[in-house]
Amino acid sequence: MDKILRIDVGAQGGPKATVEPVGDYAGMGGRAMTTMVVFKEVPPDCHPLGPENKLVISPGLMSGSAASSSGRLSVGCKSPLTGTIKESNAGGTAAQALGRLGYAAVILEGERQGDDMYKVFIDDQGVKIEKANDLKMLPNYDLIEKLKPVYGEKVSVISIGTAGEMRFSNSSIAVTDPEFRPTRHCGRGGVGAVMGSKGIKCLVVDASNAKMRQPVNPEAFKESNRKFVEGLKQHAVTGQGLPTYGTNVLTNVLNEAGGYPTYNFREGRYKHHQTLSGELQAETMKNREGGQPTHGCHRGCAIQCSGIWTDKDGNYMTKQPEYETVWSHGGNCGISDLDAVAKLDYLDDNYGLDTIEMGVTIGVAMEAGVIEFGDAEGAINLVHEVGKGTPLGRILGAGAATTARCYGLERAPVVKGQAMPAYDPRSVKGIGVTYATSTMGADHTAGYAVATNILKVGGDVDPLKVEGQAELSRNLQVATAALDATGFCLFVAFAILDQPETFSAMVETINGMYGLSMTGDDVVALGQKILKMEQEFNKKAGFGPEHDRLPRYFSREPLTPHNVVFDVPSEELDKVYNF
């Protein structure tokens, strides 16, 4: 990956593509690349939908190689939802395709001229950009159907739905999966709106004539990748739990912990949790024609945590909804029907919406009395309102914080304008620290369970002491930032957390690919570098420690069943960035 594709959307006569050497960005990939480009090239005080903002699309460092589970694609920009720097990533096939074609990044920049929409076609012969007004306001699935006869089903598509075209703060960027469906989404932070503001409807990437990226040290790469896959397969989470049940295996357990936010974060348990569980989801998929509980979102993934959800008659409905989606549209809204959740998931994917933000927004709307908690049909109608851009839909499409403001509610479960994911921070306070302090707004993936015990980021932490939540969160955020640069899926975290030999195999796979002799310390240094750039950007964009807080009501309203509040002191939160 030695080149960068820049598309100036404001060029005379329509968007113009320029390919340049990777230059100063050499060695960067994924989140490291998106963050560095935004940090260096985007004025922090710009409007996210203005000409100064840029959309950076970057495959991870290992994408396009034979390394297992390395198909993550990062998208970065200044976020329309949070006003902070943003990196949002997804699986699917596009990262591998871009990687194989040698692109370390695609950067959309400049000021859109007129109202035309464009499509970008990238293959081994170069780049073509064409006017595509026939694709205007097509939802993602309809778009894919229209592209299929032109490009076949072997290409990868990166696209926006109607939400992105209307530049809603909750709008995602879709990536096609191996079945050529737009099911994988860079969901968080409204990145689709930035793509929409650049007038680009989709990028079609055809890597069918491009070979897999070859490692500098093939023998070392092959051997370490073998050990890495072995480690993933033998671990209870990556080898059994995720392939069998998917991420929704968490529903029962979070509910048992009293940390499953229900009825817009009013309660910590949902009485109908069994009807939404991963166990039921997996059984249902096994028993329905066409259903598939174990499936990879991209080729070469050893974990296979995804799946395919069909209706009672065996018709495709959507991919297996993730835990976050089942929670946000299900338990958080008092909806206990997996088929209704699947329908909502499909609509989110089709219109191009982040399922977490959309579900939380509907929860806020339910609290405001727009519809009743538990009203599945009402929720489906609300998503249609967003997708069609009705006046109500435009409010909801702006996210949970805006919706709460419009209805005069304090109870908006957001940090820096971004909706909280499916773990109540009053029960799992350490996650609350990450929600509060992440450079991205409330984000459960910003501080993941990434081998901080092995990396010793910032030294050893005594897990028995009550103090030190900030230190743990910081270490996790540093390690996660580094992993987000590699293109490896975050789910490798569990195997590398528990099995030092699998962590070593992962690092050695990177070393074999690039001919490096990187150590754990280098991984930490990379993570710290990324976080520092992000924090510096946010500071210049007007964010200080006072923004690294949860909404006050999380400290005031006890959460049942444990009657706990979020009581991590502000001084502790302020220590997160002491490095």
Partner: protein
């Protein structure tokens, strides 16, 4: 898990003197959706979690240490099987290791357990301090643990509301009944086909259920 005997004698042979259903079924893991919903199990007296698992259920050693990685007792995350006390009114949930930071945080003795210090079990009460009376423990088995231990728990016998049991049976596909070879309710044989489930004379309240192949 392997069995040591055909219908071994459980602690409470009569399963609370409830109507007793015996099923001959050779794929007990297919009951796991029933077990995730919760059931009751007779316990002779308060005991530690390890004693309950090892002595009453028969789950000991490697499986306990390696696979049962996430445990909640009364909604509190458990780190130590030897100090966690099962007593009247207790609610127990057993699960394998979970994904995500939340999963790692909830894990027994895990590196990130500090992140859930507000919901970790702290009580170090002793079983000695409890009245030695029998009681019924509420149990939920989740994910791989539900599949793996279904046979053992069902072999010992569980108590479940009839309505839950009927609802569970009615939702099962033909595959479930392909593994069902015989059914008895209080010693009376019942037809074991999918179509016949609606006509089974299940009691209005709870029933005892034991399953063996």
């Amino acid at each position: 898990m392997s069995y040591t005997a055909d219908f071994p004698e459980p602690y409470d042979k009569a399963l609370g003197n409830l109507p007793l259903m015996l099923m001959r079924h050779d794929a007990p893991e297919l009951f796991s959706l029933l077990l995730q919903g919760g059931f009751l199990m007779p316990v002779p007296e308060p005991c530690t979690l390890r004693e309950f698992l090892c002595e009453l259920v028969g789950v000991c050693g490697v499986y306990t240490e390696k696979t049962i990685q996430t445990i909640f007792l009364d909604g509190l995350a458990i780190d130590d099987l030897d100090t966690a006390l099962i007593r009247p009114g207790s609610r127990l949930a057993l699960s394998a290791a979970m994904p995500g930071l939340a999963g790692a945080t909830m894990r027994r003795g895990g590196y990130y357990r500090k992140m859930r210090e507000g919901i970790s079990q702290r009580s170090l009460e002793s079983a000695q301090d409890q009245a030695k009376d029998p009681f019924r423990l509420q149990v939920r088995l989740y994910n791989m643990v539900g599949r793996d231990l279904a046979g053992l728990f069902l072999h010992q016998g569980i108590l479940t509301p009839s309505s839950d049991f009927r609802q569970f049976l009615m939702s099962q596909p033909q595959k479930f009944f392909d593994h069902l070879h015989a059914v008895e309710l209080d010693g009376v044989s019942l037809p074991s086909t999918q179509e016949s489930v609606g006509s089974w004379p299940l009691p209005d309240e709870d029933l005892g259920l034991r399953v063996a192949d």
